[in-house]
């Protein structure tokens, strides 16, 4: 579909010629995305190429570009740090401007007293954390790690992370936000709309932010979030991390008012009981099942290798067979990481006492080797800054997270055996990394105060191998089949696969949902705020009456 070069020129006039390009190789650097190979024809690593990549510097420029796109009917897909195939344009035959927000990268302000920061989309969690720490504050870092955009996780996608148990989900941490709708209007939410500043996301009256966020978020499919304010939590630690050691296994000494533990459970019942007890007792500054991403069979060998800068992955093979490591691995098989923090020494000692009692009551225990200084300091570094999230890909360069259905610990515990069994079976093809059936990772709670999370299987595959890609796709399909057979809601693999589906196939699935109200709502809402359909289907909706049986013809 040809788009007038006038559109290109108009955009150049807005952002400057140096901030827009349609060079094919440059466009490919946005089309290329992790997970594309699982959904695109012929396992292509490229999502659809954008028509142009545009880099605005301000809300005004975003708005102006949006208006041009409305005029010329070009879709808009904002991207900040952009790490998922749904960050790219969705369809081949729909010209799309990829709006790269990297020039909008300022921390506008950190209000120390009132504990919130105002940020632009290209501020990443690590930057905000580093600045917040100087003021005795901290920010929730989402599960995808500290290289991710704060605005994206607050305004447009999920928002849970290892620190959410204490610091809250970024959806709840979201305060005022600024949103350029697909129609090119600037909407300010909460207290911002009243000219009262950034401190409150709710209201006035019903919360306008209710249409911008939800659980899944619009993932770039409903306009561009150009600023937001995010609530910060307290940080009872030093103003900067005193990092030790050599890469890759940097270490962070555990302060006297902190603890960094790996807790093991003898079985999944005890594990769930332990989680509930942690919630009831209000423990945990950071709470996550993190290190198990490597697979329960290999995790100990991998991480002990990782923290030794002289070693390579070859050493994992040897270490994994070491009887001592095998024994440690068994104690860590059902385990999770727990960072405690207190305002005082009395406080941390009391937390230790409470934790020990919880462990005693639930039959859980501290995994000794993981609690030794080297591993504890590594765990502390990993969990505090969450700067090793690219380890998700450590085995073979590809990782896909299946399952991840969220619910209570009991709910999650119930699907864990099915998830483990299915993954074990799929590994028998040798076309996925054979790390054991349990490579489940997830937050202790994605909600502040506890109570809710999901576990995702870390399926490691080689994106340079067609056969391995196919094996990953098969696993996704198997996981879906297992869920259907068990009457479980479908997991994250469905979301990924849907990126490659036709609209009709997606709608057919959606029409079968037990409740379609929100999909109808979103259709109508999209019609109102996106009359030219500039946003893509990352903001899901269902056509009117789709999937409903037609009314029977009246008898003559």
């Amino acid at each position: 579909m040809e788009i007038s070069r006038d559109a290109y020129r108009a955009i150049e006039d807005i952002v400057g010629t140096e901030n827009v390009t349609d060079d094919p190789a440059f466009l490919d650097s946005y089309a290329f995305e992790w997970l594309a190979e699982l959904v695109r024809p012929n396992r292509s690593h490229y999502m659809p190429r954008p028509w142009a990549v545009v880099m605005p510097a301000s809300t005004r420029e975003v708005q102006a570009v949006t208006k041009v796109c409305n005029k010329y009917k070009i879709k808009i897909k904002p991207i900040s740090t952009g790490w998922y195939h749904w960050a790219a344009p969705m369809k081949d035959n729909e010209p799309t401007v990829q709006l790269d927000l990297r020039r909008m990268n300022r921390i506008i302000d950190i209000d120390e007293k009132n504990r919130f920061a105002i940020v632009e989309p290209y501020v990443i969690c690590a930057q905000l954390q580093a600045e917040a720490m100087k003021l005795g504050l901290n920010c929730n870092i989402i599960g995808a790690g500290s290289s991710t955009s704060v605005v994206a996780s607050a305004c447009a996608y999920f928002g849970g992370g290892p620190s959410s148990h204490y610091m809250g989900n970024n959806s709840d941490n979201l305060l005022g936000q600024e949103w350029v709708t697909p129609a090119g209007k600037v909407v300010r939410t909460g207290s911002l709309s009243s000219g009262a500043g950034w401190f409150c996301s709710e209201g006035p009256g019903p919360s306008v932010r209710g249409v911008t966020r939800g659980n899944l978020g619009s993932r770039g499919g409903l306009g561009t979030y150009t600023k937001c304010a995010i609530k910060l939590a307290d940080w009872p630690g030093p103003t900067e991390f005193e990092v030790k050691g050599r890469p890759p296994g940097y270490r962070l000494p555990v302060g006297e008012n902190f603890r960094a533990y790996t807790i093991g459970a003898p079985n999944w019942d005890a594990w769930a009981n332990c989680y509930y007890a942690i919630y009831d007792n209000g423990l945990g500054y950071i709470f996550h099942r993190q290190l198990n991403l490597a697979g329960a069979n290999l995790a100990t060998a991998l991480w002990l290798t990782y923290i030794d800068p002289t070693k390579t992955l070859n050493d994992v093979e040897t270490l994994a067979k070491d009887p001592e490591i095998v024994a440690i691995n068994e104690t860590a098989r059902i385990s999770f990481q727990l960072i405690l923090a207190a305002q005082s020494l009395d406080g941390i000692q009391l937390q230790d006492k409470i934790l020990n009692e919880i462990l005693s009551q639930t039959g859980c225990y501290k995994v000794e080797r993981y609690c030794e200084p080297d591993m504890a300091e590594f765990t502390n570094m990993y969990m505090q800054r969450l700067g090793h999230k690219h380890c998700n890909f450590i085995w073979a360069g590809g990782y896909m997270g299946s399952w991840m259905q969220a619910g209570t610990p009991d709910f999650v515990k119930d699907y864990v055996p099915t998830a483990i069994k299915g993954f074990e079976k799929d590994q028998q093809s040798h076309l996925l990394v054979e790390c054991g059936g349990d490579a489940l990772m997830g937050c202790g709670s994605t909600l502040g105060g506890g109570g809710y999370f999901g576990l995702e299987q870390f399926v490691s595959y080689d994106p340079a191998s067609d056969a391995s890609i196919d094996a990953c796709i098969k696993h996704m399909e198997d996981a879906i089949a297992d869920c259907v057979a068990q009457g479980l809601p479908l997991g994250k693999e469905l979301l990924y696969l849907q990126i490659g589906w036709s609209d009709q196939r997606i709608w057919d699935g959606m029409a079968k949902a037990p409740q379609t109200f929100v999909l109808d709502f979103q259709r109508q809402f999209k019609n109102a705020v996106d009359p030219n359909s500039l946003g893509d289907r990352n903001y899901p909706w269902l056509p009117e009456k789709w999937g409903q049986a037609p009314a029977p013809a009246l008898a003559k």
């Binding site: 901030n19 390009t21 060079d23 094919p24 190789a25 440059f26 490919d28 650097s29 290329f32 995305e33 992790w34 690593h45 952009g82 790490w83 790269d100 501020v123 990443i124 930057q127 954390q129 580093a130 600045e131 790690g145 500290s146 290289s147 900067e240 991390f241 050599r246 890469p247 890759p248 940097y250 290999l298 800068p309 390579t312 992955l313 070859n314 994992v316 093979e317 800054r385 969450l386 700067g387 090793h388 999230k389 690219h390 380890c391 890909f393 450590i394 085995w395 073979a396 360069g397 590809g398 990782y399 040798h430 076309l431 996925l432 990394v433 054979e434 490691s460 080689d462 340079a464 391995s468």
Partner: protein
Amino acid sequence: MTIQDYRADAMRCTRCAYCKWVPLDLMKSWRFSKGCPSVEYGKFHSYSAGGRLITSLSLMDGRSTVTDKVKDSVFMCNMCGSCDVACKVCRYDMEPLLAMHELRAKLVEDGDLPEAFQPMLESLRKDYNTMGEPHERRGDWAKDLGVKDLTKTTAKYVFHAGCRYSFDGEQSEVARTAVEILKKAGVDFGIMGAAESCCGGKAFSIGVDQQLHNSADHNLAAWKKAGVDTVITPCADCYYAFKRLYTKHAGSTIKVVHMVELLDQMVTDGRLKMTNPVPMKVTYHDPCHLGRQGEDYVPWDGVEKKIFGQAVVYDPPRPRYNGAFGVYDAPRNVLKAIPGVELVEMERIKEGAWCCGAGGGAREAYPKFSEWTAGERIEEAESTGADALVTACPWCERNFIDAVRGTKGKLEVLDILQLVNMAL
């Protein structure tokens, strides 16, 4: 190796963007959080290591061609290796820096090297230096120093000044200082003088691999003839070329020592007596080729293999170059041993250091970008409150000196040898 050998790397890139930042654990502020000068300046993703991997793939797949913009995105880069370090925090199977090199080599092979590099290459061909100076003048800096001429005699050590120290009148003092220190320490060394030839590293960094081979062949032969078993240099670029590139590409077995390593050794064994106080607050800049790229090279010839089904490893195990064992402590030990000197660190140090901007051909072909990169580092140095920015590479020094002058700044730029000299 060719670009095709890194096809798998490109396909295994996850577009995580770690290559744009310092290792995330090391981030201490918003201002000094960036790792990659190229993407900070060029902005589009193609200016990052991840972006270049995709460019490689896109070209290999025939999805795009080499345009001027593509050339820019490939060559407007210092090849500093920050991306490589950051990527390898989590990955054992990726070699972004090597892949980027092969991309350059491919463009060179296809005749797509930017014109701006031609003067440097012409100078190398004609006069064996990158500075556009007549080779006859190369040894002038050492006149009257009474140093052995290794074209006429032999010695265990050769002192290789490098192109910049040889010809940059303002900086030659550093080479002279090094020579005086070596003489006082009783080291049996000589220089090649006018016969000294460029290490070839800069040409290699822009993808003109053949030039490296030419330089290596010439230099190794000359040193062999002179009975040399160790090359000493005050230049980080040369250090890297001799230690890593000559070993890998020319089978060199010669030992390589940077002056700063020698100084450290001399401080430890008491041969260097620094007694004059130098009351200065200084901050140290880790040159890329001495720091994160200054690790020992271990020859390897192997293949990729899979374990645990699909986990990517190598047979035999492939050595890892991730900046973990660069030369970081030696210069710091020396600085701490200088009486009166107070060392204050910048935020981005060691394997996370921000590049000076001179490397990878940037100074030659993209002077504005090179100057901007240096300016960023100057600002970082100034933020420590230091009186001087100290480093151990003439290219870093030149770029910093020019940047400070350009902004009429007050920060002094010194080589570590100059500070040592003040203390002797």
